[in-house]
């Protein structure tokens, strides 16, 4: 029993290490004080004031638009890439091509930011909403591709596309009557991940956002110049909630897809 107690308290410490900063942020988002240093009393007013902050709301709209565009773009590209990679006949070095797809996951984001910026500048591509959406899609592509690829591989093993073609369907008919509906949940779950990646991205956006495009993470960063106000804490809590909801629905989707 003592051994179990020891293990339990050890785990508690680790979870405290992980979640204490978030807990402090959460608590201080209700602090009724302008300068958020000492606890003055409980209030909801910072959450209310978030919704009257026009700059913040426009940053939110920009971020949502970016995330939607980037996740759509990354899903379509991820679907095509996975289809090609899983349906092409085996060739030498195929494994290298497959792992090249996930290398950007490990790449420091600063490197991506510098690379993208120098590319856009050299190529004389003006920085705007669409270049940023493209860059976000690029960062999110490994997530959508790996999610869709796993599903397409299992579909291939079950010979369902073979069965469709055997019954007279062309490759295209087999794709949209069999592959697409059955890969749907995997595509959607990849898109949710891509949405999260784009939504929270700071480094890349900071490098190439250009003038006039303010995303939510950039907005928070600029607000922090005047100290961590309770308003920022409240905003961060909202974002945290959104992320948790997105990730939870993605996990549920994966589990439901696996059991069906």
């Amino acid at each position: 029993m003592t051994k179990n107690k020891g293990l339990a308290s050890f785990c508690c410490l680790i979870y405290a290490f992980l979640y204490l900063p978030l807990a402090v942020m959460f608590v201080f988002s209700f602090n009724d004080a302008r300068r958020n240093v000492v606890w003055k009393g409980f209030t909801f007013k910072w959450y209310g004031s978030l919704f009257h902050n026009a700059e913040l709301l426009s940053a939110l709209v920009t971020t949502l638009e970016l995330a939607i565009a980037a996740s759509l773009f990354a899903s379509v590209l991820g679907l095509f890439a996975s289809y090609a990679m899983t349906r092409h006949a085996p060739f030498k070095g195929r494994g290298v091509y497959a792992s090249l797809m996930s290398v950007p996951l490990m790449m420091p984001e600063v490197v991506m930011g510098v690379g993208l910026l120098s590319f856009f500048v050299r190529a004389h591509i003006p920085l705007n909403f669409w270049t940023l959406a493209g860059a976000h899609a690029m960062i999110a592509l490994p997530y959508t591709a790996s999610s869709i690829r796993a599903r397409l591989l299992s579909l291939k093993d079950s010979r369902l596309e073979d069965a469709a073609m055997d019954l007279g369907a062309t490759e295209w008919e087999a794709f949209y009557k069999v592959t697409l509906p059955l890969a749907g949940p995997a595509i959607f779950s990849g898109a949710l991940l891509a949405f999260t990646v784009s939504f929270e991205d700071f480094v890349t956006s900071f490098f190439i956002a250009g003038i006039g495009i303010v995303t939510m993470p950039i907005k928070i960063y600029s607000m922090m110049k005047f100290g961590v106000t309770p308003e920022i804490n409240a905003l961060a809590c909202c974002l945290l909630l959104l992320t948790v909801v997105l990730l939870a629905s993605q996990k549920l989707l994966v589990r439901k897809d696996a059991t069906s």
Partner: protein, 375 residues
């Protein structure tokens, strides 16, 4: 028109990643025939089937369907349907939509689809299952739906890739007879892949025995069993005692052999021998063609009598398996005999002296295996 050829395969070869899986497959399948590809796993039978269906391209050779070269055609341009090993039913469609899939692709009018799907469901005895989801079906029912889906388009040729492999023994026996009767009723040509020799014997008009990427023997079940040409076929179809034999003399429709370098026998044999005088070949004797006797031979008999030591007598309920050692020189090859005679049920001590009686015509001369080995 039975007898007319429906499918011709000419010199098909195929390798995957440097490994040759088909080393020249040629055969001709007649209309309304039930032909089985039989062989152990990895022998090339499923690859041959996938080449006929169009899922794989052969490295060399041609596939002719009704006289037309279809080697280069994709699966959807061939009048061939397949029943897959794990059924491959579409999980996002119900039973009706699964069966109707091919008909809808061909854009048949909906009333005709309706009546043909009902007909197909009646054929596999699953009327009333139209609206079931595939996840609500048992293995046997999925198998029937897969069959109905493949038959509803009335293909010239139906390919079946170990369709009963996942079913339990009793259901498998039932389905074997049912498949055979459906095939007779519709008059569709079936090419059936299995590794189960009993399944092949039950259903087939002809069996092609595959081994190591070649066809070892092609013939009616009875030919394959009673006149196996190679030791592989003798051993794979039923059980066989395979012995080595040296040719001593061959003339006047008779051949004299020395079995296992010990016992001389004379047997009738027409035609040429696969090897010359003084050389060694393999012979096979079926266990049920060896009679175990407890007394020595009467004087006037043409049969071969081998004096032997009984090693073991295993009672199997409907039969007895008797193991004999007729040869003294090491390694001392053991013969297995199977008999349903009541006299063997009484267990005798091992070590007893017995005689094995064999009719000369039951000693089957074998050719070397198609890969050249005598294994």
């Amino acid at each position: 028109m039975p007898g007319e050829s429906l499918l011709e395969i000419e010199g098909i070869t195929k390798s995957f990643g440097g490994q040759t899986v088909l080393k020249g497959i040629s055969l001709s399948i007649k209309k309304a025939e039930f032909l089985t590809f039989l062989g152990p796993s990895g022998c090339g039978k499923t690859t041959t089937l996938r080449i006929i269906a169009g899922f794989e391209d052969p490295d060399a050779g041609r596939v002719l369907l009704e006289g037309k070269d279809v080697t280069e055609l994709p699966p959807y341009r061939r009048d061939v349907h397949t029943v897959f090993q794990h059924y491959a039913l579409f999980p996002h469609y119900n039973v009706f939509d699964n069966i109707a899939f091919g008909l809808r692709i061909r854009k048949l009018p909906e009333p005709e689809i309706q009546s043909r799907v009902n007909e197909a469901l009646a054929l596999v005895k699953l009327q009333g299952f139209e609206n079931r989801r595939t996840s609500q079906l048992s293995g046997g029912q999925m198998q029937r739906i897969a069959l109905a889906r493949a038959l509803v388009g009335r293909p010239a040729l139906l390919l079946l890739d170990e369709p009963l492999g996942a079913l339990d023994l009793k259901l498998r026996k039932e389905m074997q007879l049912e498949l055979k009767s459906i095939q007779r009723k519709l008059g569709i040509t079936f090419v059936y892949v299995t590794h189960d020799q009993e399944e092949a014997m039950t259903m087939s008009d002809r069996i092609a025995v595959f081994n190591l990427g070649r066809i070892e023997q092609l013939g009616a079940p009875r030919d394959i069993y009673e006149r196996p040409q190679t030791s592989f076929v003798a051993d794979f179809i039923g059980a066989a005692n395979v012995l080595s034999a040296t040719v001593l003399e061959s003339r006047n429709g008779e051949v004299r052999l020395r079995l296992e370098d010990e016992v001389e026998v004379t047997l009738p044999h027409q035609g040429g021998l696969p090897v010359g005088k003084g050389q060694t070949l393999k012979v096979a004797i079926r266990p049920e063609r060896i009679e175990v006797r407890y007394q020595d031979s009467p004087a006037n008999t043409d049969n071969v009598w081998l004096k032997a030591t009984m090693i073991d007598n295993v009672y199997l309920g409907n039969s007895s398996q008797i193991f004999l050692l007729p040869f003294e020189k090491p390694p001392g090859r053991v013969l297995m005999a199977v008999s349903m005679d009541a006299e063997h049920r009484e267990r005798r001590a091992s070590g007893a002296t017995v005689w094995a009686e064999i009719r000369p015509s039951d000693i089957l001369l074998l050719e070397p295996n198609s890969n050249g080995s005598h294994a």
